[in-house]
Amino acid sequence: MKNKGFMLIETLIASTIILGALIFLFIQFSTIKRSYDNSFRYNTIPGLYSGKVLVDFISKNGYSSLDQNLSSSTKGYVLLNGKCTLGAWNLTETKICEKITSKMDASHILYVGNNISNLQNDLKNNNYDQNVFNTGFKKFVLSINSIEINQRRRIIVEYKNNTYAVIAIS
């Protein structure tokens, strides 16, 4: 008897190849979709301008105390929202800073140095405060260049609408 139809092994090989191709397509497509979504959430124009208000305030009123707090911090950042006393500004300046941070509608505002590689290593090694870093914020911090090329400090902001921004302090 002549059986000229497909053998089971042939069918399995063919379906493996097709499924492999589909999985490859799916992974590629997911990566593109993720990058596409991130482009809407990372460093948005309103986020950058809003953060710049705080950056300008810090630039004008000095950040030596923030630097001291940063150098003594083991976490690699100073949490700014609601804690403007860390800047050691006078009472009015502290209040204005607190107003700015509350008006920014931010979940978390980090003051970091020009090199955040230690912070990024901690995030990669899951050695971080989960009250500060959710998955989205963690991914954003990991996507930032470790070293700021002009040696400037930066603030990193997570907004309540799940957008993120990093702004250098001139």
């Binding site: 008897m1 002549k2 059986n3 000229k4 139809g5 497909f6 069918t11 063919a14 379906s15 097709i18 589909l22 397509l25 497509f29 979709k33 596409y36 809407f40 948005t44 124009i45 309103p46 301008y49 809003s50 710049k52 208000v53 300008d56 305030f57 004008k60 009123n61 009472l91 009015t92 300046e93 209040k95 204005i96 107003k99 700015i100 008006k103 920014m104 509608d105 609408n161």
Partner: protein
Amino acid sequence: MKNNKGFTLIEVAVSFTLVATISIVLLQLVLSLKEVYLSGDVKTTLLNKQGIMTKYIYDDLNNKELVSITTCGLSCLTFRYGEGTVKNLLVDPGNKTIKYGDYTLQIDNSSYFGNLSVEYDETSSALTTGDDSVISINIPVISKLLDNENFGFNIIKTYNRSNTSINISSDIASTPVTLSGINTNISIIDEDSTHVRGIFVKLFRQTKDNYFGSDYNNFIKNNNANTFSTLTSLHTFKMTLNHESIINDITSNASLSAKEKREISQSYQDGYYSLLLNYNDAALSSGNYYWWYQTNNIASKETLKGFYVGFENGQAPNGLTYNKTGNNWSNIVGQATNIGVKNGSINDFNGNAANSVDLYAEAREYICKYSLSNVTYNGTNIKNLTLANGEKMCK
């Protein structure tokens, strides 16, 4: 010997399953790509507009010396800068635009403005140098297509109050409201010196010698300060306050059939309009007006039918309805009254010829949502007013 050259049943079944699986995956891929394309298009447009306007405003605030911010209307602020530049920031919910200086941004039909707010804090000790105060202006733009995501504007500015003055208070009688590009005023029905019965904004006016054309669009979409009509702005006056009590009024109304009650109740689920009609420029405080609730938007051609649930002067208007073939664009069903007359005379609610007719919309929720200025009534911010029935103006 029998020749078996065809496919076996198992081969056909396996092939069919494979083809079906691949087809479903590819279909999902195409559908998700389509969704990404559509949402991306809307999102990109909204983000572009948000970015352009944000940059436009911040460029002035960051690079120029801000001298003052004052009010120029209910939803309007005037920015004065050191070198003499003056720019208005105007939000017009009627035609869905934001204007700053000479730049106008129109939001798409699937988006709407959220609650506007301006907050400034001058409570800190004054500083001779550096900034001692902060102002924030929040104009949310909500997209219904994108899960009610906000594509609005949150402008923050620090300033020194010896160099910059902020005065955004304005008495209600002298506060213009811009609707679809036309300025109108806020009208109040007083109960007594401290309480109001209602706050209204005029949407439409017709005098006996000034007829609108025979075209529907000419009637609805006519935006002209002389032949005053801002009926296309009516959608922004949709109210949701006291929704339940209005539904109760409907269901306890003996003059309505069960079917009518059901239909009206359903149409009220999405909100309602609180409208007022008066003739011959009669003062609203005299009680010389109709005041009723209506479900449908007369600016929407397809749904032009209204029902009354409340009324004044012992009469019961059934609401405005569009009369396509008659001489009146709209009339109060069962009464001789009319607005938007094509020709002939305007009749008042007694059936007598009138010189003019004005249609107002209650602006209680409108003012609560769209105020950029601190509008006051007898010195009290109207958002903090208590109405004659004991309710708070804004909930």
